[in-house]
């Protein structure tokens, strides 16, 4: 026994670990949302929805509260979150936001995906940020900007009197430092690709910065408003931005909340920054609780221990009638689609791709999978892109007969219930990442739909990283995908132009992207992108399914948030309040 126990052990450990891992499948919902974060990290945005918050009110509430009392108040009411003082004088109370994984406050490289984005919004400031309607860039750390007539120089005037959390003044040096970090080829900067032809930043004077571009770039401001956060030169200088181990232990920003505490795998605590340029926040403490399991997040919301949960549509029904919870849906710059490998002979024929679109019952998908919110997609430009979304375009109707006709035109014949051409069956696999219930539903509906047409369709479920690796290498026939992008159509360029993983090629589309990128007139761009959407619509390089809503559940005590995508809503956390309930 004694001598054989190592063998026994080595056999016992892996097998029981496997067992644990297979049981862990249920957790993949959480993992998949994390995945959404990875995508969203780069390219997310949000809706053109309702509520605009009057900036005047914030100036009025610059209460003369003693800065030192604020954190204490926050901590005290954290102990009893249900008894929050509605007295708005000093920041008070705690709002608790769940994250699925450890966030890391390094907005340049953005390790930690969505979790980090949700944290960074409260810690750091940007030159410009989306307005409270979730759209147009508005002043944040820059108060105004001039664009040179040739569209190649952006000059920003910085907001005077802004202080870093450590008390240092915020200056043009910090701005240049941040952009230099992003441009450094040695840095794994996450958002640099969004800035296109941006080449350098110059300090004009301590309160003025000039950004130089090698070519005009229409989306520049929108992209600067998209998670490009400023970092303090004095603090960060000398650290490797790819692993700033000291900075992330005590990050310094200009945002409405300051770093207080981090316990790995447990929580991050932020406290009100009394010196915030737009007035002190109303809520004293923001706690990010790290809860990897979505079911636990929902249970905690019901128990009043967290305040916001982002939901999968399938979770909506169960929370609908919970008394202390409000569910709402925001629009987001996102579309769900069946990506097709256009270099696969099956999908090389445009008629076949159109047939696949006609065959799909998308109204039912919106109703049953998305629980009634969201709309049918016409193409990659989604309604929250506002001016760029062609309103008058109609989606492909649900028409099985038309689909069959198109397949016949393309040379496919039904033989004994099977779709055949030249002796070959119409056989393909739908690649799916395990764990996300919504994408699984889409895959199942697509499979059933296409089987009815006589195709031989299988579902190939893979773990997220493998799924991602294979989609990047174009190693698929078809996969269920989604794409959250910044709210400018140029963000879609790598999906349909250049070397996209779908292997889709269209000179018309390439030309339109090139024109839209440099044109500085919004009217011209609108016309260009309407043509672009139409060209992609006709080609159907992907089967466009839906523009999904972003479902969120809020605790009822939370007030004053804008009904926009959570990523943008968090720029305005400092305006939220808690009601006594």
């Amino acid at each position: 026994m004694a001598s054989s126990s190592w063998e026994a052990m080595s056999a016992a450990v892996p097998s029981s670990l496997d067992d644990r891992l297979s049981r862990r499948r249920f957790l993949r919902t959480a993992a998949a949302v994390g995945a959404a974060g990875v995508l969203g990290a780069l390219l997310d945005a949000c809706g053109s929805s309702s509520s605009t918050t009057a900036p005047a009110t914030s100036a009025a509430t610059k209460a003369p509260a003693a800065a030192s009392t604020a954190p204490a108040t926050g901590a005290a009411s954290a102990a009893a979150p249900s008894t929050v003082a509605s007295n708005a004088a000093a920041p008070s109370g705690t709002v608790t936001i769940p994250l699925i994984s450890n966030p890391t406050p390094n907005p340049i490289v953005l390790p930690g995906g969505l979790s980090s984005i949700l944290l960074d919004k409260n810690l750091f400031g940007q030159l410009v940020r989306p307005d409270a309607g979730g759209g147009t860039p508005v002043p944040d750390l820059a108060t105004k900007w001039d664009i040179s007539p040739d569209g190649k120089t952006y000059t920003f005037s910085l907001r005077p009197g802004v202080k870093w959390h450590n008390g240092d003044p915020f200056t043009a040096d910090d701005v240049k430092f941040t952009f230099d970090l992003m441009l450094d080829k040695k840095s794994n900067a996450a958002f640099i690709n969004n800035l296109g032809p941006f080449t350098s930043a110059d300090v004009v004077d301590p309160m003025t910065v000039k950004l130089n571009l090698s070519a005009p770039y229409a989306p520049m401001l929108t992209m600067l408003a998209y998670n490009v956060m400023m970092l303090p030169k004095k603090v960060l200088q000398g650290e490797d931005i790819n692993k700033p181990v000291n900075f992330i232990q005590n990050p310094i920003g200009t945002g409405p909340y300051k770093w207080k505490e981090f316990v790995s795998g447990d929580h991050v605590t932020l406290v009100a920054n009394m010196d915030y340029w737009d007035g002190p926040p109303k809520i004293g403490t923001v706690v990010y609780k790290i809860l990897p399991d979505l079911n636990t997040q929902v249970a905690q919301l019901r128990a009043g221990q967290v305040d916001i949960v982002m939901l999968e549509p399938s979770q909506v029904d169960a929370l609908q009638n919970v008394p202390n919870v409000v569910i709402n849906a925001a629009s987001q710059t996102n579309y769900q689609y069946l990506a097709m490998n256009n270099s696969n002979p099956l999908f090389a024929d445009k008629l076949v791709r159109q047939a696949l679109a006609y065959a799909l019952d998308r109204p039912t998908m919106v109703k049953s999978i998305l629980r009634g919110k969201g709309t049918i997609a016409n193409g990659p430009i989604s309604p929250p892109m506002g001016w760029a979304y062609p309103q008058d375009q109609q989606p492909f109707p649900y028409d099985t007969k038309k689909a069959q006709d198109l397949l016949t035109q393309a040379g496919w014949q039904l033989q004994g219930g099977k779709l055949m051409k030249g002796g070959q069956p119409f056989k393909f696999a739908i690649l799916l990442d395990v764990g996300n219930p919504t994408r699984k539903d889409f895959a199942l509906v697509a499979q059933q739909t296409y089987q009815k047409l006589g195709m031989d369709v299988s579902i190939d479920s893979q773990e997220f990283n493998i799924w991602y690796d294979r989609t990047g290498k174009s190693d698929y026939d078809m996969f269920v995908s989604y794409w959250i992008t910044p709210p400018d159509p140029n963000a879609l360029v790598n999906g349909y132009s250049a070397s996209n993983s779908d292997k889709y090629k269209s000179q018309t589309v390439d030309d339109l992207f090139a024109q839209g990128k440099v044109s500085t007139s919004q009217a011209d761009r609108k016309a260009i992108y309407a043509k672009l959407q139409q060209a992609i619509y006709d080609d159907q390089p992907d089967v466009f399914m839906t523009y999904p809503p972003e479902y969120r559940a809020f605790s009822k005590r939370l007030q004053g948030y804008a009904s926009i995508g959570i990523r943008d809503a968090l720029y305005y956390t400092y305006k939220w309040t808690l009601s006594a309930s």
């Binding site: 052990m9 644990r20 954290a78 390790p111 840095s187 447990d266 609780k289 905690q300 991602y468």
Partner: protein, 316 residues
Amino acid sequence: MGRYIASRLIQAAVVLILVTVITFALIHLAPGGPSAVLTDARLPPELIARQRANLGLDKPVYVQYFKWAGGLVRGDFGISYTDQRTVLSEIRQRLPNTLILAGTAFLLALIVSIPVGIFTAQRARSVPDHIVSGISFIGLSTPVFWFGIVLIIVFSVQLHWLPASGMRTINEPNSLADLLKHLIMPALVLAMPTMAQFSRFVRASVLETLNQDYVRTARAKGLAARIVTYRHVLRNALMPVVTIIGLTLPVVVTGAAITESVFGWPGMGRLAVDAAFTRDYPVIMGVTVLVAAAVILINLLTDLLYMAIDPRVRLR
């Protein structure tokens, strides 16, 4: 004895090196790469290539291994790809939490299962035995995540008795009572399958011992039933139990991952599983080295303990 331990330690070092080589090879063979560089497939390929190069992932695997092993020798476990914190600081924060949870669960399992095992063995095939067997099988076959969520819904959402997650109340001074309140549900959930398994094991072992000749002899001598049970039966019956404890301990520590996820417990099991999903190589390797070392050590201790309690086990 000293020479035996020395030779076992040398063996342990060799095993440890093999474990790191094999793990390193396996994680690089696994399909899919680190999430840290999988920002978006729709990014230009040159940008992804640059990110890989910046993490050193463009080098041959053996070069990466020696770089990692070189760091380890100097006590540098590397830096996590996904959250940029040093692996050592992550483990240092997480390990004690897992030990608290797993230790409590383990003690709970022992405290319950040994008496239950003895009790049922003495009344084998009686009604109480069947009832306990039934409960054990339910305990073994209930999925941990389901049981956890049920407990949360009952005791946190409905009754508001216990916190739904975490290890301490945030923004409150640490106290033992607070920790215990957070510990009850996850420890119970984690202990349940082990408890069920152990009580079955103890029952079988005691039952077997009860049929031994020396027990019959002891009874024939007219010894009191209690003395027979505790001095003769228990001491012998618990020997295989010590082995199974040694084997199970590392499994409980690493296997706490699900319980930790359900209850938001900031432990190391979760760290390991998250690292596996995100292909966070430095973290996977760090945890592997630590767990492998612990397993080897526990194994060695089990063997020594075995010698101590069973005079028949002698060194060759």
